[in-house]
Amino acid sequence: MADQNHDIALMAHLMRRAGFGAQYAELEERAAKGYDATVEELLNPEVNPHGMDLDVAERCFIEWSHQTRGVPEYFAFRMINSRCQLEEKMVLFWHGILCTADSKTQSYPTSYDEIEMFRELGMGSFRDLLVGISRDPAMIFFLDNCLSHKGAINENYGRELLELFSMGVGMDGEFNYTEDDVKECARAFTGWTIANNVPGQPYGRYHAQFVYNPEDHDEGTKTFLGETGNFNGEDVIDIIAKQPATARFISRHLYSYFISDEAQVPSWMETPPKDPETIKMLEDEYFRSGYNIKAMLRVLFHSDAFKNARFQRVKSPVETVMGTLRLVGDWTEPKPGFEFIFDEMKHMGQELFNPPSVEGWHTGQEWIDGGTLVHRINFTADFVGDVNQPGVREIIDRLADAGPVISPEQMVDTTCLLMGHYELADETRQMMAASLEKGGTIHTDTEEFGTRVSELLQMIVATKEYIYA
């Protein structure tokens, strides 16, 4: 029993991090299958069906089928319902690093293409992903590479490619590149642009298209990160990909996203990794595997650092909302009103497709302030307080299996287990048990029992512990 509990607790941890959480029945099923097998299933979405009726969803939300509108909602729907949870989690990961914003690009079809590119390349070679983002029409427009010409470069994309997308400003107190490298990088990407698109009036937006214009490409010799040649964009990416700084940069991002909140990215030059050993392990795998993200993730999920890192990350708003919806079992089918869900994440500080800057969202404790915390708690309490939600009903029924009467302590402990093995501080646990005690003996075979469970769920999601994943 203890082993089984340990396995399910570990599975709950894995599914919160490598996905958006799971109901207890799925945790039991996956635990029975085994940790290693589950990791492999998550790492291989190409051979494991996502299990969604996307054609039906697109039929209900008619604007999803040609990506003319509702692209953020479509993305969120897939996070909730995809069996390939890690695939969606990695799309969100890259969306938060290789950032573009619809507030500037103003083209959901083009944003959709970017997301599909993350889905296709997000667990492959990081080198290929950098080529993909450099050819991404949304990025080319967002960071002005379409304004960068032979003899009149715009440094914006070249700079961010180095600073925010691959290497970072510096590491171990040293700069990773110079201003000259930024200029040479920008020169290498001249000619990487987009076609003049069909305007959105009168028939709606069209997908933008990448175009390489050789006549606008600077064919001159460039010196970049110590190497000299007639470099084009892909040559520059080849050089970037083999830098130790790139291995460090990606490793820290993966660590922060999957294991434990790191310092914010701008401070990485001066602030060493909090767990150098695990970072080194990830860096080594980056090179050993030929820059393969999937291989790095495999090492990460099997590391002790990951397995021991339960509840050491503050959930992002997207993780909070998606995790709650998956817990209660809502939005498994299309229905009117999905816009509301999207707005909730926005009010908590994370608007999909509109990060605050090219730097993406600041994470960790920065997700939480007075306003966003109230939104978080109100949202989760509303959903777990609804006894008609199938996931809540399932928790009620499983608690009732304990017998006709359940003790307050047992009810608190079992409810925490069923929510995904949450661990409350002893003081908090005692307080909740005392609160239940005041309501008198807890009979599980009464109608009132469901209400008492939902009230307990609402108390649990209002705790500090529930903020963490």
């Binding site: 039906v56 604007e63 089928s65 509702g70 909602e73 009036q201 028939y203 709606g204």
Partner: protein, 347 residues
């Protein structure tokens, strides 16, 4: 002597395009999903709209003349999702799917979320009634999709989630039905569009089975054609079907972004892929803003990209050889004229 033993070739000449993206009322549509025409040649287009509150109220039926391109009436109203329940006001839509006209010209609109049929008069589109009981027993409805009237004012309704066709009188009295989930003859998987031809035979777009099925008016299975794919005679989620007076069958092959044309026996004839230019209503919008005009002039492959079907979802025909293709993702109707070879002399 001229002899002719082969089937006369048929082609389709692009005529014009009607529409633009128009989120509220006026000269345009917003994610349109259904089209029909009345005896006077007026077209009725049903817009489904979107869920985005900023665009409320966005759903409606637009009635217009396809030649003059003038809107003559609009009706129906959008409700916020939180009001889409038992208290939904009369005449409003949530997820409208189809519009059909009875012999008197009254318009019937199906709503797959509210599981009901709303009825509007022919003069001003005033709501005059509704019917529909949710459920899966005979006479109850679950996710109504396509609608079509026969000559006797019986309403043939596709019920996507009950995977069947149910036939009602126009005031909602159940007559008979057929179907069930499956891929056998006479079974369906999330069917969508429906058409009744001049003989009273019934055609159903069997959406998830990627095929068209044909039935006698009483539901007796007659034939089927199509399979999954993107080749000739294959479909990727067919949504709409229409049959002209010559027996040509037109199918909106939704996810393949094309319309395929078949002979009455289901054999493949040709494919239409769209040729739209700038519509009259579109020009009204474009020429208000010189930057849009400039952008159009600069756009790479404008004609090819703008002209292609995007989400062809429903098709209508008339007895004069016109074909009206409705595109949900481009908020417009492309109009074509059928051209059949004429042979002189003795056959």
């Amino acid at each position: 002597m001229v002899t002719q033993t082969e089937i006369a070739p048929v082609t389709f000449q692009y005529s014009h395009v009607i529409g633009r993206q128009e989120v509220r009322s006026g000269n345009g549509f917003f994610n349109p999903v259904a089209i029909t025409r009345d005896d006077n040649g007026l077209l009725y287009v049903l817009s489904r709209g979107t869920e985005t509150p900023a665009f409320f109220p966005c759903k409606r039926v637009t009635v217009f003349h396809p030649d003059e391109e003038e809107v003559v009436a609009e009706f129906g109203q959008k409700i916020p999702p939180e009001d889409a329940d038992d208290t939904t006001p009369n005449g409003s839509f949530m997820w409208p799917t189809s519009v059909a006209l009875d012999s008197q010209g009254y318009a019937y609109v199906s709503d797959e979320w509210l599981n009901r049929v709303s009825i509007y008069d022919q003069e001003h589109g005033n709501w005059i009634g509704m019917w529909g009981i949710p459920g899966d027993a005979p006479g109850e409805i679950n996710r109504p999709a396509g609608l079509a009237f026969d000559r006797n004012d019986n309403l043939y309704m596709v019920e996507s989630r009950n995977h069947r066709v149910s036939v009602f009188t126009k005031d909602g009295k159940y007559q008979f039905g057929w179907g069930g989930l499956g891929d056998g003859d006479g079974q369906f998987n999330l069917p969508w569009g429906i058409e009744i031809d001049h003989n009273g035979d019934v055609y159903v777009a069997d959406w998830r089975n990627d095929r068209i099925q044909k039935f006698a008016p009483d539901g007796t299975f007659l034939m089927k054609f199509g399979e999954s794919g993107d080749g000739e005679g294959q479909f990727n989620r067919p949504t709409g079907v229409a049959v002209d007076k010559d027996g040509h069958i037109f199918v909106t092959d939704y996810k393949n972004d094309r319309v395929q044309v078949f002979l009455g026996d289901g054999s493949y004839v040709t494919t239409m892929r769209g040729q739209a230019g700038l519509s009259k209503w579109g020009a009204e919008r474009v020429y208000l803003d010189p930057t849009i005009v400039q952008a159009r002039n600069r756009a790479l492959n404008l004609q090819e990209r703008e002209g292609a079907f995007q989400g062809p979802i429903a098709v209508e025909v008339d007895d004069d050889g016109h074909v009206f293709v409705l595109e949900t993702a481009r908020h417009r109707v492309q109009v074509f004229s059928k051209q059949t070879a004429m042979f002189a002399g003795e056959l």
